[in-house]
Symmetry: C2
Subunit: 429 residues, 2 copies
Amino acid sequence: MLLLKTSDEGFEAKFTKVVRDRRESDTQVGRDVSAILHEVRERGDKALVEYTTRFDGHNLSTEDDWSISKETCEEAYKSLDADLREALETAAERIRAYHEGQLPEDRDYTDAIGMRLGARWTAVDAAGLYVPGGRAAYPSSLLMNAIPAKVAGVGRLVVTTPTPKGEVNPLVLAAAHIAGVDEIYRVGGAQAVAALAYGTQRIKRVDVVTGPGNAWVAEAKRQLYGVVGIDMVAGPSEILVIADGKNDPEWIAADLLSQAEHDPTSQSILITDDARFAAQVEDAVDLALMKLPTAKTARASWDAHGLIVIVDSLEDAIPLADRLAAEHVEIAVDDPEPLFAKLRHAGSVFLGRNTPEAVGDYIAGPNHVLPTGRRARFASGLSVLDFMKRTSFIGASQGALEAIGPAAVRLAEAEGLPAHALSISKRLS
Amino acid sequence: MLLLKTSDEGFEAKFTKVVRDRRESDTQVGRDVSAILHEVRERGDKALVEYTTRFDGHNLSTEDDWSISKETCEEAYKSLDADLREALETAAERIRAYHEGQLPEDRDYTDAIGMRLGARWTAVDAAGLYVPGGRAAYPSSLLMNAIPAKVAGVGRLVVTTPTPKGEVNPLVLAAAHIAGVDEIYRVGGAQAVAALAYGTQRIKRVDVVTGPGNAWVAEAKRQLYGVVGIDMVAGPSEILVIADGKNDPEWIAADLLSQAEHDPTSQSILITDDARFAAQVEDAVDLALMKLPTAKTARASWDAHGLIVIVDSLEDAIPLADRLAAEHVEIAVDDPEPLFAKLRHAGSVFLGRNTPEAVGDYIAGPNHVLPTGRRARFASGLSVLDFMKRTSFIGASQGALEAIGPAAVRLAEAEGLPAHALSISKRLS
């Protein structure tokens, strides 16, 4: 953990280093992934069988080895502990309600010169969701990816997920049942993303691929961007807590650790105007780490990437927060509004003392797939729009064409595009 | 030019080949670009100077070699022929009006359990627009990229454009003046995109890079996706004209040629239910090519990639059009509405006999930066949203947290994330 004070000499250089440090994958991953994509594109299912044996210790031969049926998902759902099933249902309902509010409106109007103009939104035909296996197999991720796709109106929803040594996660299957997933394939890694993007004999290609994954999965999505639509290149998780000294240090420590426990590369940052409070939080983190079952991961993250910044006033936290452009920003003060109004770059903001970030991970409603690695400067969280596309349209009446056609002809000629000019001038009287 | 009839044996295989053919860049470009990005990242301006000398024959030494001032742009604007200036102004006004209608609305509401939820849109801080030099230096492109950025509220708008042998295009400078561009650098190619994304000593980095370019520029954007936001990987232009036999063959021929004249890799496709009309269009294309100043390019494109498909009924055109997912689709019939209603995948649609695609390139208002290479299956044209990002927010009252917190704790525990659970349970009474 690094402790900085804005009033210290050398603060700017140290803070700049934090902002610039990219906790991202190396170029070797790029080469490996590139080879895997090539193999899957050329050899389809055969490549999937080989990689799945090699990486997951899982043999793809029978139908049940390849895929998980809707019936199996329904059984997993029915076998779930009632409390947990209810929790999943509540989460799904709230996520659905929030995302329904994102459905865009079409435009269709005729302007003053008689030109009909507009835009129509439609869902993509098919979407593929990557669901990690093993430790990071999160049913909440499945809901957060599948529900926006369903709300968008996607007709075919495909999940790929690795099942290491054949092991499946019943919670994920139950979530797939709730979300209405159409197909599940037991394939993971870059090879799964390649299968979704290119299609194989067994797995029909999709139009958009979303969902979290390890460095290979993220790199595969990056390389296939353009072949399919993707949600975003996702990196390690981050939380930035802006807090005054009137918070319970244990609460804030838990918030910081809730990101740190994800991965050793996760980053947890506290900015406060109260040095005494900062020390209390530091102590509370150390204390919590003694009992936390995920302490190994959380401690590695906190030691390597944890940061506390002491500012003179919480107002000074905002420009720093904008430079960090963090995935999650908590504003833990009595009245978060004035600080929130000034903040420009953040994936999602958690307002007030009663809104731990984890409530957004599961159940609040907004999406938990958010831009990481300072990408909130230009990117947004996953939404219904990621599963839709917009077709603009233009309909010129004879009068409208007469009104503005000559100007377009002039521009086309000036650009040296005579056929463009001709296609308009031929239609002018 | 390839002529297909849906009723012919072997149609499906031949049409599938057309859909699958990617008129895209090769892997050598990928390696070259990767090296250029690395050099610019490591060596900044020095790399720019070297590449600009080598590729553009332009020496970057004085301030005027590096950049073009706002004053120079204003002079170019004032020196413009009055008709042309008015045409540019009309185009800018109409583009602005259409894009203002794209500004998204924020959300902010409190749900039944007392949870405040919402989303706030903000503009990115800075955007970089790539403007090609030489033959493809289009003022219309500058307007189509810069105006949405301005409407979004982007504070700093940077243009990079190559000036081969020092040559500048006064029309582009005039357009930059009209659009309110803040900085123009005389750098092009992958090296310009790298400078915009990473920043150099002279060129401060931006958050989003948009704009057309050659294969190197497109590949640079693809590789830098995630470091910055980009509009889309753009490939060669396409037009698909769906027309009955009652059109003037010369009009439709001009429409087809308006794409073909862009580049030898462009693609022009006619689908019609009238074989006699198809032959007339073919003849009209040949005739027009005899007089067209851009015939060399247009003929190369038409010969290599031109396609006419004869269908039994225009209804049959729609599933083919959806598979082609073309950048531009004209529906040249008396009542385009029923066909348009069924079409799912297209960048932009041009309705009726009086709407040549070129009217959308310049002056109708909607953006002419559109998804190519079948990407309309999942991507949309450039819009104000490409220069903005959305921050979701959550504010839990004590009551709201009590209502759904326990369910979130259950899910966190089931996912094996105890610090997530702790951050909520500590706040529950």
